[in-house]
């Protein structure tokens, strides 16, 4: 299974780099084409600091809004609106010089004040941005002139450029961006019909390379079947993520479609509340990890796709180590561990299960696996909104299922206040140390170490890594295949004439 993924991954990366390279030959695509993108993730509103959800990143990151840096689909961080930057000796002062000739969609030029305003929007008290915490080391933002921004930190932060790639640069004169926008990207918002679709039109005043299409329409669907049907009936050109292997059968082996498997960062996990008994006991957590036949689970949900992981880190991260052997499937040893932990007759607990696919099915699988080692799991179905309130905010749960989509999110285990409440001082120290590391090698070494410890601690039950599959009509090329952090850059997409 994982072999297949790797091979495809290689192909995918090649495809992606080909798509973004300058065109070597004459245009054989329609430069004014409308690209219709099918997606399950409609944004709630248009402001990524106002709880708009992952859909807004998909539609707007890099397309409508740009940041000082951009996380590319290949996973590298490249300068975007920042022309150049310098870091002081102590690593606490960053001086950014902005690109020239950049204008917002409203026609206003980009200035340092806009950058300061934009960063403060994310770190503001009322901001609902999930990135807020990673920017908390910023102590001041100075704007000595229109093209220069000086950021001072309280501690070294090796991933500052990476973190700044989430900070949309918004015109500081834009009043309300929950229903409109004013960014610097290659597209501007044309129209948004809630519950249905959102369209972006090419922005003629764009500072960089012109998009290879004229218009992009994100068409939203409420379930995966409807989404696949839309591609099958030619109602959309590409779907951003395939959510089940069963629909793939219709696309693979059909020359009218291209199926691409990219590098995934989406992890399905059973997170325990590590603060409460019995999950504060490492033996219990390890026992439950060993009780689950994850290969069978992955096969049930994804057929021949997807990858097994032994911790929270996908194989594409530099700090990945194969840890699937740490708590490999072994029900007998699970029972022994439970006895050692003082639960020879098992115990009962509740899994708060989000109501959308695949969580209810995964929960039933786990229920049956845990029953085999004498542990009774109850399933409590909740909406995404309730999950946010009950589990994420109030931390009022025993265990929960969740898919974690973000790239490089192992750092969550370094935050004892995070919803799962994993608190290992050594890991906290390693992860903080990785952030203030002086070099990438040092960062990688520390995170690798942390990764090994959380796996030994069975901090959560990491079930599997989703495959990242994009399917398109075969006349459409140049779309991102990895979709890191839900981004979906549309400007390189070409539709054959």
């Amino acid at each position: 299974m994982s072999l297949i993924s790797r091979r495809n991954l290689l192909v995918a990366t090649l495809l992606a780099s080909a798509a973004f390279s300058p065109l070597a030959f004459a245009q054989d695509y329609d430069a004014d084409a409308t690209i219709r993108i099918g997606s399950l993730y409609e944004p709630q509103n248009l402001d990524n600091t106002a709880g708009a959800g992952q859909g807004i990143n998909e539609a707007f990151n890099g397309n409508v809004y740009e940041a000082l840096f951009q996380l590319t689909d290949a996973g590298t961080v490249e300068p975007k609106l920042s022309a150049d930057y310098k870091v002081s000796e102590d690593g606490l002062t960053y001086t950014f010089t902005l690109k020239d000739g950049v204008t917002f969609h409203s026609g206003e030029p980009l200035t340092a004040a806009d950058v300061k305003y934009s960063i403060e929007r994310v770190t503001a008290e009322t901001s609902k941005s999930s990135r807020k915490k990673s920017l908390s080391t910023i102590t001041s933002i100075e704007t000595p002139d229109d093209k220069t921004v000086v950021i001072t930190l309280s501690a070294r932060s090796i991933s500052l450029p990476y973190n700044l790639s989430y900070v949309w640069i918004v015109n500081d004169k834009a009043a309300d961006i929950t229903a409109t926008e004013d960014g610097t990207g290659p597209y501007k918002l044309e129209e948004w019909r809630r519950g249905s679709a959102l369209s972006l039109a090419r922005f003629d005043g764009y500072w960089g390379d012109k998009p290879t299409n004229g218009e992009v329409v994100y068409q939203y669907f409420t379930d995966a079947t409807a989404l696949n049907n839309a591609l099958l009936t030619n109602a959309v050109d590409v779907i951003t993520s395939v959510q089940s292997p069963d629909s793939l059968a219709q696309f693979t082996g059909n020359s009218a479609y291209t199926v691409t498997e990219g590098a995934s960062t989406t992890k399905e996990i059973l997170a325990y509340n590590d603060r409460v008994a019995p999950f504060d006991n490492v033996k219990v957590r390890k026992a439950l990890a060993r009780a689950v036949d994850k290969a069978k689970l992955l096969n049930s949900i994804w057929g021949d796709y997807g990858t097994l992981i032994g911790s929270f880190v996908p194989p594409t991260d530099p700090w990945y180590v194969d840890l699937t052997g740490v708590d490999a499937y072994n029900p007998d040893s699970a029972k022994e561990l439970l006895t050692e932990a003082g639960y020879p007759d098992g115990f009962e607990f509740t899994i708060d299960t989000p109501d959308y696919d695949p969580h209810p099915l995964v929960a039933q699988f786990l229920q049956s696996e845990f029953a085999k080692v004498g542990v009774k799991a109850n399933i409590n179905i909740i909406t995404a909104n309730e999950w946010y309130t009950k589990v994420y905010q109030e931390k009022n749960f025993q265990a929960t299922l969740q898919e974690h989509v973000n790239h490089r999110d192992i750092v969550f285990y370094g935050n004892p206040d995070f919803y799962w409440g994993y608190n290992n001082p050594e890991v906290v120290k390693l992860i903080a140390g990785a952030e203030s590391a002086g070099s990438v090698d040092e960062q990688t070494a520390k995170l690798t170490e942390a990764n090994k410890i959380i796996a030994e601690d069975a901090a959560s039950n990491w079930l599997y890594l989703y495959p990242q599959i994009v399917v398109s009509a075969s006349n459409v090329t140049g779309y991102p295949v990895n979709g890191l952090n839900s981004q979906f850059f549309a400007y390189g997409i070409q539709k054959a004439k």
């Binding site: 519950g195 309130t389 905010q393």
Partner: protein
């Protein structure tokens, strides 16, 4: 002949059989309408307070402080005593001020307007299509109840009322969209009805689904009403006076038979409108139903409240219109006083 609504309606018969000029009746009915609206508002208010969680949660970020929680509560008014909340709730409704969504921050009234541009055509087209199927078939099923095809229609309608609407939708999508590639499987064009061609084709399958399921129960009402007319004295009299059977049926039968059917149709229309929630889900249509479903999941109170209030208003208006129509059509109610049946 089944379905609980119709059972109740037929038993009750047309309400209020005292002779009254149509204007006075309209006024009295209008008072009832307003009263009903008030009752609905009270029920809505209570219902929304029963939903778990504080609406202020929707405004808060991760790890909000006590002060932020307090200010969010002040902003949405959930810190006020209940009676104050109730008064402001009613006065806002009266001014059609439905507030702004907690999640999208968009005006609820505007959003409902957009959504209605999908749900209303869907409902009305589905209803009309169902009528077109149900009325002739229902009459045939009654008039030819002893023939094999009369019985066949009745049996098929039994099937129709037993099938869940979403299942019909799923099956129609796999047939017409996936296998035959004739129609889109779902979705609605971005430009809405400005893109008339795409919007219309997007409506075909949903409308077909609604009409198939609805016509089954409608057919049974029409059949029952026709059977009753067939056994009635005036039809016999008309025929005795020399009218041909089809003529007698059309002249006298349809009009008399229509009376109980109209009030049932009013209820059916209302049910279709509200039942569109499932259809919209199956076909990914941006209508009022999908707005409500999402709002319930997100605990977006202003949206839940707005959709329910507007739906109630529309349902009551449909009932009002049905009662008036019935009053106008029914010769006994209009022209002369009618005793108790």
């Amino acid at each position: 002949m089944s379905g609980p609504y119709q059972w109740a309606r037929i038993v009750s018969g047309p309400q209020n059989r005292k002779t009254r000029p149509i204007l006075a009746y309209t006024l009295r009915r209008l008072v009832i309408l307003l009263f009903s609206l008030l009752v609905a508002a009270v029920v809505l208010f209570i219902l929304l307070r029963l939903l778990p969680g504080d609406p202020a949660n929707a405004l808060l970020g991760v790890g909000a402080t006590e002060a932020q929680i307090a200010s969010a509560r002040a902003q949405v008014g959930s810190d006020q005593p209940l009676y104050v909340q109730f008064i402001s709730f009613i006065s806002n409704l009266a001014r059609f001020d439905l507030g702004t969504s907690f999640v999208s921050r968009a005006s609820v009234v505007e959003e409902i307007g957009n959504r209605l541009s999908v749900t209303l055509p869907l409902t009305i087209l589905g209803f009309v299509a169902a009528l077109i199927i149900a009325v002739p078939l229902g009459i045939i099923a009654a008039v030819r109840s002893t023939k094999w095809y009369g019985a066949a229609i009745s049996v098929i309608s039994q099937l129709g009322i037993a099938i869940p609407v979403f299942w019909v939708g799923i099956l129609l999508v796999s047939l017409f969209a996936i296998n035959l590639r004739l129609l889109p499987s779902g979705g609605f064009p971005l430009k809405g009805w400005a893109n008339l061609g795409e919007a219309s084709t997007a409506m075909i399958l949903p409308v077909l689904t609604i009409s198939l399921v609805m016509s089954a129960s409608m057919l049974r009402y029409v059949r029952a009403a026709t059977l009753e007319v067939l056994g009635s004295d005036y039809l016999r009299t008309a025929r005795a006076l020399g009218s041909s059977f089809p003529e007698a049926l059309i002249r006298h039968g349809l009009r008399n038979g229509a009376v109980p059917v109209i009030s049932i149709l009013g209820i059916e229309l209302a049910s279709t409108f509200l039942g569109a929630v499932v259809i919209e889900r199956v076909f990914s249509l941006p209508g009022l139903g999908s707005m409500l479903l999402l709002a319930i999941q997100q605990r977006d109170y202003p949206n839940v409240q707005g959709v329910l209030f507007i739906s109630t208003l529309l349902v009551l208006l449909i009932g009002f219109a049905a009662d008036l129509t019935q009053r106008i059509v029914d010769p006994r109610l209009r022209d002369r006083g009618a005793g108790t049946p």
